[in-house]
């Protein structure tokens, strides 16, 4: 299963970025093989629609689940249309979040847990 974790850096030791649309990187991990790649979030600096753009990019790469801190309404709608599951409330390092996910300790959400424009600087 392909899982994307919002991250502040390019590897598993990096801290989780709690923002979805405006995170710096996505770590896309394969839970079977244990391999991972880092994807720079092109929309991190976008003025609007960052969450939609990010959701689109993950859907295009065949991601099946997303692990993050907070999720806005438009990104949620896009991910749901793509059939991607969203696990929120992650913190600590990307590796720790991934381990928690595998142990079933992260909550599945089906609704946005933050308003639009969250994380805009």
């Amino acid at each position: 299963m392909k899982v994307a974790i919002t991250s502040q850096g390019k590897d598993l030791a990096a801290p989780v970025d709690e923002r979805f649309g405006r995170c710096r990187y996505f770590i896309i991990a394969d839970t079977e093989s244990g391999s991972f790649t880092a994807l720079e979030n092109a929309g991190a600096m976008a003025s609007g629609g960052a969450g939609i753009q990010a959701a689109q990019a993950l859907a295009d790469r065949g991601v099946e689940a997303v692990i993050t801190g907070y999720m806005g309404p438009k990104a949620m709608q896009t991910l749901q249309a793509a059939g991607i599951k969203v696990y929120a409330g992650a913190s600590g390092s990307v590796g720790e979040a991934l381990a928690m996910f595998k142990e079933g300790k992260l909550g599945l959400i089906d609704r946005a847990n933050v308003n639009a424009h969250f994380g805009m600087r």
Binding site: G49, I52, Q56, A59, D60, K74, Q77, T78, A81, G83
Partner: protein
């Protein structure tokens, strides 16, 4: 001659300058006044126009014909505003992000995109003596400020003098207002914040290639902070309005300085002559 009155932040007295300037000029001939702060229009409270016309402003947003759509994803790639996403072979639209550029329907290879109007606000036109007044009001929930400002600016016809009251700040709505003007008046106050925001506004005007001058409101204590800034930047300080309780009360009552204190009329006339001279140069 189009003059925009702007300020890097709200609450500096920008609208005061705009309405008093318009009122003074209207003594000598017709003036067009555009309140471009479509999120919080307030100039009408001072000029008190009688509105005669109300026009809805709509933007053309995409509607997808699912029968014709192949899910190719091209529309979402051409949309600079991320108002379309294509996931799982289906298009999702976010009309509130759409700027109505028409790009998606132009590029869709199968003709699956039709454009339907979506209301973003209204433009109201009226008269206040010799002032032709226009302002816009954004539809609740719409974030499309610049297109509505452009609709307000379209109300200008053969007007010789146009005064535009810009929204506060230096973001897209301000740029949409100030772009194409002959001169920009920047209103500020003698505080470090005032100078900081003035600096941002000056940067914006220079970026747009529009000559600008400064009006210092609530002047009195610590004016040097703005005077020094203007001197260093080579900006003309065109007018100082001293802090005075009577002026504040006049504003709070929704009255005009030039009516309650007629001696200000000459001051605003001089200001206008100076603007004309500098915009022409």
């Amino acid at each position: 001659m189009r003059v925009a009155i702007a300020s890097g932040k709200g609450g500096t007295g920008k609208t005061t300058i705009a309405v008093n300037l318009a009122k003074t000029l209207a003594e000598d001939g017709p003036v067009r006044f555009l309140d471009c702060d479509v999120e919080e229009p307030n100039a009408h409270l001072f000029l008190r126009p009688t509105f005669q016309e109300r026009k809805g402003v709509a933007l053309l947003v995409p509607q997808i014909d699912a029968e014709k759509c192949t899910g190719c994803g091209l529309c979402s790639r051409v949309c600079a505003f991320h108002a379309l996403a294509v996931v799982g072979g289906k298009v999702i639209t976010f009309p509130e992000l759409c700027h109505g550029c028409g790009g998606c329907s132009l590029f869709c290879p199968t003709g699956a995109i039709h454009e339907i109007p979506k209301k973003i606000g209204v433009v109201e036109n009226g008269l206040a003596g010799k002032i032709s007044f226009s302002h816009g009001r954004l539809e609740v929930g719409s974030a499309l400020v610049p297109p509505l400002i452009k609709a307000v600016k379209k109300q200008v016809h053969a007007d010789r003098i146009v005064i535009l009251d810009a929204p506060p700040g230096t973001s897209c709505p301000v740029v949409a207002t100030v772009a194409g003007c002959d001169y920009c008046l920047l209103v500020t106050e003698p505080t470090p914040f005032g100078r900081h925001d003035l600096d941002l506004a000056v940067g914006m005007a220079r970026e747009l290639g529009i000559p600008c001058g400064v009006v210092l409101n609530r002047a009195g204590d610590g004016d040097e902070i703005i005077e020094d800034y203007c001197a260093r930047e080579g900006l003309p300080l065109l007018l100082k309005i001293p802090f005075d309780r009577r002026y504040a009360a006049c504003y709070a009552a929704g009255n005009l300085l030039v009516e309650e204190f007629p001696s200000w009329q000459e001051v605003f006339k001089d200001l206008w002559r100076e603007i004309e001279r500098r915009a022409g140069a």
